[in-house]
């Protein structure tokens, strides 16, 4: 069972998550609390669900290796080693940096199998922010899992916001700041599949379980950060999600 009455967040060091109002979330985070991911189910990412991302591929979708535009939703797993929460420290593995994909995360509240679009919201417990991190890679044909499955490469939270607080998930503004400067902004309104349509198309062939998260997808043009930088992700007026990017040797030093 997974349910959220107001805002669900799991402060690092506490045994269980708290379910509190927005003011309490802001007060808790103002104390510099780090958080765990507020969910522990399976996390599925959605690719190329942004019209601008498809437009950027242009005619390439008809050429090898793709040969045709996508038909079904394109999904991938963010495995359990990738899950992290607010104020996570993420290792930047090489010189090419890390792409910070901000996405709306749809948090499932009830077992969702063969859900019709018009009833899809009945299966949603709430929404959250997902920082879907990846090593930049140009080809989406058969990319290596090492680009998306590194430890801490899926930062979620700080909180799950109850569905009742979100009037229209298909009209939300997303923003990423890097080192305090605006680096990216987008909206969920440019999605190829809306929240309800995505749930309908996905649950036609795979059941989503309570507590699972599926992203609506990272909009085109996600910024790339380097070690030493901090990113802050936001959706509307929700509590923002902060991530610190560090070099591999810095992380080892901190552990020792």
């Amino acid at each position: 069972m997974f349910s959220v009455a107001d805002h669900l967040l799991h402060v690092e060091g506490e045994a269980l998550p708290r379910d509190v109002n927005a003011a309490a979330v802001h007060a808790l985070l103002a104390t510099c609390a780090a958080c765990r991911a507020p969910v522990s189910g399976a996390v599925y990412g959605t690719l190329l669900n942004d019209r601008h991302a498809l437009e950027a591929l242009g005619e390439a979708v008809n050429a090898p290796p793709y040969k045709a535009p996508p038909r079904a939703p394109i999904l991938y797993l963010k495995p359990r080693n990738t899950l992290a929460g607010h104020r996570a420290r993420v290792i930047v593995p090489g010189n090419e940096g890390v792409q910070v994909g901000a996405s709306l995360g749809i948090v499932i509240g009830r077992t969702a199998a063969r859900v019709a679009a018009h009833e899809a919201f009945d299966y949603v417990a709430g929404y959250t922010l997902v920082a879907d991190l990846s090593v930049p890679h140009a080809s989406v044909y058969r990319p290596s899992v090492r680009f998306r499955a590194r430890d801490n490469f899926c930062v979620i939270g700080p909180a799950v916001v109850a569905r009742s607080h979100v009037a229209n998930p298909d009209q939300l503004a997303l923003a990423v700041n890097v080192e305090g400067r605006p680096a990216f902004h987008a909206t969920t309104a440019t999605s190829v599949r809306s929240v309800a349509q995505l749930l309908a198309d996905v649950t036609d062939f795979m059941t989503l379980a309570p507590g699972d998260v599926i992203t609506l997808g990272v909009p085109h043009g996600a910024p790339v950060v380097q070690a030493g930088e901090r990113a802050t992700l936001a959706i509307g007026d929700w509590a923002p999600l902060e991530i610190e990017f560090v070099a591999a040797h810095a992380a080892q030093g901190a552990q020792a």
Binding site: P65, L75, L77, V140, P143, V145, D151, F205, M206, A209
Partner: protein, 251 residues
């Protein structure tokens, strides 16, 4: 030791083989068909290998790879021994894939291949179905092909690594309605188990319960509703599955 997980009389039990029957942890012995078989473990992250047998790669017309072709699967696709897997009515080519499944037993980070086998808890059989009609060239093979409900059959037993002599010399066979269709051996791995653990743990942390499906040998054919598919691996047992039609699922 071989251990299974079965549902019987309102509870989930650990089970062990008892002749042709199963012994529940509480002492009851039942026929194999009297219990409902679950996957022998609740998997953590599930990795699957594409094209990890040279002849199968040739069968699908793939050339040499730079790194192992790994994709990930979610928990919802897993079912147990004697379960059913749906074949959509509109497809032309749905095939089984008999695979050795490697279960990780210890947290593994930056493990060298010489040490890698110490991180293996044991093995089970996987039948990793694919529907080729749904292949598209984006993050291939995508979840509609490889992560369908009921599309990953695991079991019947989890077998301790210590009970398997040479894991790189195990015969794998698949029978469709009793007829041998797939006949391979783990000695033909393109990337072996130790190398796979070295590769995966070089960029991510593996945890107990993670499962690596090591790919399938050549010999995949289309299966139809009503077919019985049996995957067999030396020392691990026989994993039975039946193909069901859309009608069974009120589609």
């Amino acid at each position: 030791m071989m251990r299974g997980r079965v549902a019987y009389a309102g509870a989930i039990h650990e089970a062990t083989p008892e002749g042709g029957r199963v012994r529940l942890a509480d002492g009851r012995v039942r026929e194999e068909h009297e219990v409902v078989w679950l996957a022998p473990l609740e998997p953590g992250t599930i990795f699957a290998l594409g094209l990890n047998y040279a002849e199968h790669a040739k069968e699908l017309q793939f050339s040499k790879q730079e790194e192992p072709l790994v994709f990930l699967k979610g928990p919802g696709t897993v079912i147990g021994h004697r379960g059913t897997t749906r074949r959509p009515a509109d497809v032309t080519f749905m095939h089984y894939e008999c695979e050795l499944a490697v279960v990780i037993g210890r947290t593994a980070q930056n493990v060298k291949r010489e040490d890698a086998m110490q991180y293996v808890a044991g093995y089970t059989i996987a039948n990793d179905y694919a529907i080729r009609d749904y292949l598209e060239n984006y993050y291939r093979p995508n979840l509609r092909v490889k992560n369908r409900d009921g599309g990953t059959v695991l079991g019947p037993w989890f077998v301790d690594a210590a009970d398997i002599g040479d894991v790189n010399a195990l015969g794998l066979r698949t029978y469709v309605n009793g007829e041998l269709k797939q006949d391979g051996n783990t000695r033909d791995f393109v990337t072996g188990i130790a190398e796979l653990i070295e590769y995966l743990s070089s960029f991510m942390t593996l945890a107990p319960g993670d499962v690596i499906l090591t790919g399938t040998p050549e010999g995949v054919v289309n299966v139809n509703a009503g077919d019985e598919v049996v995957c067999e691996i030396d020392g691990l047992g026989r994993l039975v599955n039946t193909i069901a039609s859309d009608a069974d699922y009120a589609r």
